[in-house]
């Protein structure tokens, strides 16, 4: 059953990728990235369950932290705040 959820989330990631490539503005792309990272975090957590390894949750956590700060960096760069 988990495979189905994994698949669906993967589909969602791919759909967001459409916005990433399509744009049209930089802001659109970064929003797409932001959403993709959120989805990916969920995907990773789900993978942890799939492999039955709690240690992968740490990976998801670090990923969430780095992705969040990364998005903030993009945002601040875009508004000229750096």
């Amino acid at each position: 059953m988990i495979e189905v959820y994994l698949f669906l989330i993967a589909v969602a990631v791919i759909l967001s990728m459409y916005r990433f490539f399509r744009g049209p503005t930089t802001a659109d792309r970064i929003v797409a990235v932001d959403i993709m990272t959120t989805l990916t975090t969920g995907l990773m957590v789900l993978f942890a369950l799939y492999y039955r390894r709690a240690i992968f949750l740490d990976v998801a956590l670090v990923y969430a932290v780095l992705a969040f700060v990364g998005v903030i960096a993009f945002a601040r760069y875009m508004e000229g705040g750096l």
């Binding site: 492999y51 039955r52 390894r53 709690a54 240690i55 992968f56």
Partner: protein, 113 residues
């Protein structure tokens, strides 16, 4: 061709293409990073053993159910080295831009001959 190998070779080649074809120095450096990523993926792929899990021997994972830990250790190192290279490259480019006021690789050629 295995998709992981394919992806890593593709990344390496895309990176190489960027270095060969892009005029902007920053894009060339991005190419370099992409290349490094490809290499890292390749290393990891080489160490993968089908049907096995991360080489962390907890939660019921025994040695015969774990993948090769060496490439993962290597990649850790390689990533850090890549980061370091990128950091150096960027600060070099900052200085370069300050002096030359350009990032066009064709204009960064005062040293020649």
């Amino acid at each position: 061709m295995n998709p992981y190998y394919f992806a890593s070779i593709a990344l390496i080649l895309i990176g190489l293409y960027a270095i060969l074809a892009k005029r902007n120095v920053l894009k060339m450096l991005v190419g370099l990073s992409i290349m490094e990523t490809g290499v890292n993926l390749l290393l990891i792929s080489v160490g993968y053993v089908s049907g096995r899990s991360a080489p962390i021997l907890s939660e019921g994972i025994t040695p015969d159910r774990a993948v090769d830990p060496i490439p993962q250790a290597l990649v850790l190192t390689a990533i850090v080295i890549g980061v370091a290279t990128t950091a150096m490259a960027l600060s070099v480019v900052i200085n370069l831009y300050e002096k030359y006021k350009t990032l066009n690789v064709e204009e960064i050629r005062r040293l020649r001959g």
